[in-house]
């Protein structure tokens, strides 16, 4: 229940940030969304059993190791993507305001 609420708050925050004009805020929103999805993966494994999946843990109480492995790789990949997105923030035009680029780019089809 509480985990689900945390996920909801993270998603709501992520959605709000991603729709912002500032590119940096959108990146932060992406980070939050990553957190939310990782927690959701954990939720899929069930949260009644929370023992470390290590030697010596009672298998009946051990958490599902598969979501953990997924999330571990997901975190690192999200990190790499975040860095790439951040690099995009500082290349090109000054600042990271995206609003004035909102207008639909009308590329009239070249008449052939």
């Amino acid at each position: 229940m509480i985990l689900a609420l945390t996920i909801g708050i993270l998603v709501a925050g992520a959605a709000y940030l991603m729709l912002d004009r500032s590119y940096l805020r959108a990146v932060l929103g992406f980070l939050l969304l990553g957190h939310a999805v990782n927690l959701l993966l954990f939720a899929a494994g069930g949260t009644q059993r929370r023992g470390e999946p290590l030697d010596g843990t009672d298998p009946a109480a051990a958490a599902d190791p598969l979501p953990q492995a997924f999330v571990l790789t997901a975190i690192v990949i999200a990190f790499a993507i975040t860095i790439v997105m951040l690099v995009l923030a500082v290349t090109g035009r000054a600042g990271d305001d995206t609003a004035d680029r909102d207008r639909p780019a009308e590329h009239p089809e070249p008449r052939r």
Partner: protein, 929 residues
């Protein structure tokens, strides 16, 4: 030789002939002609004369039961011989027709066309049939496109029509596979569902008919065929005689046994066929361009074929088979002659060519022979096949047959008239100037072959008996003994009477041709087929534009709106599916969780409220720590550690970015309030949906089967007791391998981006009085600590890497610890330059991928890529999984160092012009703008 070698040889020609053309020029066509000619003989002597169908199978996608199934029965044999034989003749013709030196592309497409048609007619698998069908579509598109600028529009229109037909065929294939449960064509066609399920039979019949009619240029899809005439003569000849349009006829004949169970099939085919035959004939009478006239005559003749296939009796299918052969011969002769005329007389306009009989007696004779066969004058093959067609329509019973008999009778009159119109005016009068005949002998020779064959096979009709009867029998799946024989003379019967009447009426039209010309010399419709297709095409493009408009901008918000809405919809759907279970499952929450929720919520709130970038980043760091604690609380120490380290590194990298951005967020300018409300509503909706979805799927079942298996088996199978790590490096190493390739690519992308585009300048506060302005004094504590911590952290990172298999740790965490050490060293340094890590990061990241791949290849020794090898050395358990983990370590380290070096440098060096060359590039870019 059996079917596979034949097919492989045909496709091999596609590679061989263009290579030869690079050296020999157009003469390379002889190699293609010889190849196809030999295949014709081989097929005729081998599988085509076998009394039983020849079948062969190779696995393709065995899991879906999709196979490369080949089958040659009578119908396939007829079309295969036509495709190969006519193809050989036309390639030989091309050797003298083509004058351009660069003919490789032409030959590649023509041989590919032949090979694809061969694949199509041999295919006994629906998927293979569809693929071959689409290849013929593409070949014709590219052949028309090859003409140059004037071919572009017709090529696009042709593609539009034939591809939409391809979609209909795809729909038919899917429906058949789902209903009959097999992709094997011969089995699917024999399925009882055709008889018992009228809806299925009707739907498939219509889809197949539409697909075939687009290819066979039936009304209202006929416009592409005359449009495609811009292609050179050999292409037109092949397209009209044996390839493209005949693919449609083949499909109709292939399905005529099964699909005729649907009542819609005969009516649809006969109606469309008769209409097409009539309008094609009228249009042919209207044209002055010989090639256009021939194109419309093809439309008309194909209409006749479609109508007679619709009649559907054994006699009708026999007639269709015969007329396919007759049409292939006289039409290829016709188009090739027009090509020759164009070359020698410089025109193909009926009103300009005169005195052909005196100027080019041989070619004139041949075109007359072709026209006689087309008009159905006794006793050419065209006459015999038309007798069969009329006879089939007159003797069959039912409404469609009556319609076919009436329509085809009138069409026969038109055929006689336009055939005569093609030859009568051009034969006599004073010949115009001709170009020399040099180099056109081969053209004349190939024309002779087809024209004479088309005429002489009439009296020699019994030669074709076996082939045609076999084809008719195979299309209806009946024994060949039930098919009437094929012979030249039928005696006096109603069909002959109709033929004679048609010839007489046609002759009358020819005699009155001046008046007919004046009558028809005007637009018959208020619009043209080409115009209609053009409007359709513009409509499709407009639709595409309208669809893309909501996301036609480069603001991230525009593009993220859709995924966010989808999250909302998905969550709502998840709840709707499990209505009633929205309450939390028992035992999924603990009291301590509340603290974590509070921490995360505070962090998110702080991110949203932050007015300055630095504050927002720090608040995001708080959220990251809260999530790391969540992971720890959920029993994932490994993941929590990773999250913690990633959080530290993320903040470090963001701070490097912040130096180049303004302090505050951009202010909203007007209309901000409404936008905020919409964003807020969307955010709350997405959050609520995510919560309910999580509730619906959390904790409703016991441990998963995978979980139980891993916990029980992991240690015994891998020698590692840290189950998560064994999953990463042993069981699911391929995932991990893919991931570290992504990491290496990320390093590469960053380098490329900063090489290509100058980063924004640093915004350093130039205030000497500020307490932080002296980096040396400022970082004294950090520097002192770093002296101890950096070596310690580096050692620790190696230790964590090594112990990962048995305790929390591993390549990811080890690398992140090591990266933290480097970040610390960077932060402690007094200047950007001094703090840089002198590490070739691209090499490190690349080595990571290479090490992992090499370890994976070692696994092949034990039978599988990435399977770890184990050994016990002096009581210590060793595994190549550890080496794999070293690869992971290197890749992660490479990415972090890349970020640090590229963004940490005061002015990324890559942004400076690298050489004179890039300066020139930039200059030329300016000019281009």
């Amino acid at each position: 030789m059996s079917l596979f070698p034949v097919l492989v040889t045909a496709w091999a020609l596609v590679l061989l002939v263009p290579v030869l053309a690079g050296r020999l020029g157009p003469l390379a066509g002889w190699a293609g002609a010889a190849g196809l000619g030999v295949l014709t003989v081989v097929v005729a002597a081998g599988p085509a004369s076998s009394p039983e169908p020849v079948t062969e199978v190779l696995p393709w996608i065995p899991a879906l039961d999709v196979m490369v199934r080949l089958r040659m029965d009578g119908l396939a044999a007829l079309f295969a011989l036509l495709v190969l034989g006519v193809g050989a003749v036309i390639l030989a013709y091309s050797t003298s027709y083509l004058t351009e030196r660069r003919s490789g592309g032409f030959y590649a497409l023509m041989t590919a066309f032949a090979a694809a048609m061969l694949t199509l007619v041999l295919a006994d698998d629906l998927v293979l049939l569809f693929v071959a069908w689409e290849i013929t579509t593409l070949c014709s598109y590219l052949l028309i496109l090859r003409v140059g600028p004037k071919g572009r529009e017709p090529a696009a229109r042709t593609l539009l029509i034939t591809v939409s037909g391809g979609l209909a065929l795809l729909a038919a294939v899917c429906t058949i596979v789902v209903r009959t449960g097999t992709t094997q064509l011969s089995v699917a066609l024999a399925d009882p569902a055709w008889g018992t399920d009228p809806v299925f039979a009707g739907v498939v019949a219509v889809l197949v008919a539409v697909a075939a009619m687009t290819k066979a240029a039936q009304f209202p899809f006929h416009s592409w065929l005359p449009d495609a005439m811009v292609a050179p003569a050999p292409v037109s000849a092949y397209l009209h005689a044996a390839a493209m349009v005949k693919a449609g006829i083949y499909l109709l004949m292939r399905f005529s046994g099964a699909a005729s169970a649907a009542p819609v099939w005969p009516w649809l085919l006969v109606t469309v066929g008769v209409v097409t035959a009539l309008i094609g004939g009228v249009f042919a009478l209207q044209r002055h361009d010989l090639k256009e006239l021939l194109a419309y005559s093809t439309v008309s003749q194909l209409g006749l074929l479609v109508a007679v296939i619709g009649v559907g009796t054994p006699g009708a299918l026999l007639a269709a088979s015969a007329h396919v052969v007759a049409h292939a011969l006289f039409k290829s002769a016709g188009f090739m002659t027009v090509g020759l005329l164009e070359r020698r007389a410089g025109t193909r306009d009926l009103r300009e060519i005169r005195g052909l009989f005196r100027a080019m007696p041989w070619a004139a004779t041949m075109i007359v022979l072709a026209a006689l066969s087309m008009a159905g004058i006794p006793i050419t093959l065209g006459f015999v096949s038309k007798e069969y067609v009329l006879d089939a329509a007159l003797t069959a019973s039912g409404g469609p047959a009556v319609l076919a008999a009436a329509g085809l009778g009138v069409a026969a009159v038109l055929t006689v008239a336009y055939s005569a119109r093609m030859v009568v005016p051009v034969m006599f009068g004073a010949p115009g100037e001709l170009r020399p005949a040099a180099g056109t002998r081969v053209m004349a020779g190939t024309i002779t072959v087809t024209a004479v064959a088309g005429a002489a096979l009439g009296p020699a009709a019994p030669v074709l008996d076996r082939l045609l009867a076999g084809s008719a029998a195979a299309s209806l799946s009946v024994p060949a003994t039930g098919i009437d024989g094929f012979y030249a003379w039928h005696g006096i019967n109603p069909a002959l009477a109709v033929s004679v009447a048609a010839i007489a009426a046609g002759a009358a039209l020819v005699a009155a041709r001046g008046r007919v010309d004046r009558l028809l010399d005007r637009p018959l419709w208020p619009f043209t087929g080409v115009g209609a297709v053009e409007r359709l095409r513009a409509g499709v493009i407009d639709l595409g534009r309208a669809t893309g408009r909501p996301t036609a901008g480069d603001s991230p918000a525009r593009h993220l709106l859709v995924p966010i809405l989808l999250i909302g919809v998905g969550g709502t759907a998840a709840v709707a599916l499990r209505a009633g279970d929205v309450a939390a499952a028992a035992g999924t929450s603990r009291a301590s969780d509340l603290l974590l929720l509070l921490l995360a919520a505070t962090g998110v709130g702080a991110v949203l409220a932050a007015r300055e970038r630095l504050a927002a980043v720090l608040a995001a760091g708080v959220v990251g720590f809260a999530v790391a604690l969540w992971f720890y609380g959920l029993g994932a120490a490994d993941v929590a550690l990773t999250q913690l380290l990633v959080e530290v590194l993320t903040v470090a990298v963001i701070v490097l970015i912040l130096r180049r951005l303004p302090r505050g967020f951009p202010r909203s300018r007007g209309g901000g309030g409404r936008r905020t409300v919409v964003r807020g509503a969307l955010a709350v909706g997405a959050g609520a949906a995510a919560t309910t979805a999580a509730l619906a799927m959390t904790g409703w079942r016991g441990p998963s089967a995978a979980s139980t298996w891993f916990l029980a088996e992991a240690e015994e199978r891998t020698g590692g007791s840290n189950v998560v790590n064994t999953i990463l490096v042993d069981f699911r190493a391929l995932d991990t391998f893919g991931e570290l390739v992504v990491l290496a690519l990320a390093a590469l992308v960053m380098t490329a981006l900063l090489d290509a585009r100058r980063p924004q300048p640093l915004r350093v506060l130039d205030d000497p009085a500020a307490p932080v302005s002296d980096p040396r004094a400022n970082a004294v504590f950090l520097r002192t600590a770093a002296k101890v911590l950096v070596p310690f952290l580096l050692l620790a990172s190696v230790y964590v890497l090594l112990r990962g298999h048995n305790a929390p740790g591993g390549g990811f965490i080890g690398a992140l610890v090591g990266a933290s050490a480097l970040v610390l060293a960077y932060l402690a340094a007094p200047s950007d330059g001094a703090g840089r890590v002198r590490l070739p990061f691209l090499l490190v990241a690349g080595m990571g991928a290479v090490v992992a791949a090499a370890t994976g290849l070692l696994g092949l020794a034990d039978g599988s890529f990435l399977r770890p090898l184990h050994a016990d050395l002096l009581g210590v358990h060793l595994s190549t999984a550890l080496v794999f983990d070293v690869g992971v370590y290197l890749a992660v380290l490479g990415v972090v160092v890349a970020g640090l070096n590229l963004l940490g440098a005061p002015q990324a060096e890559g942004a400076e012009p690298l050489s004179d060359g890039s300066d020139e590039d930039r200059a030329s870019e300016e000019v281009a703008r």
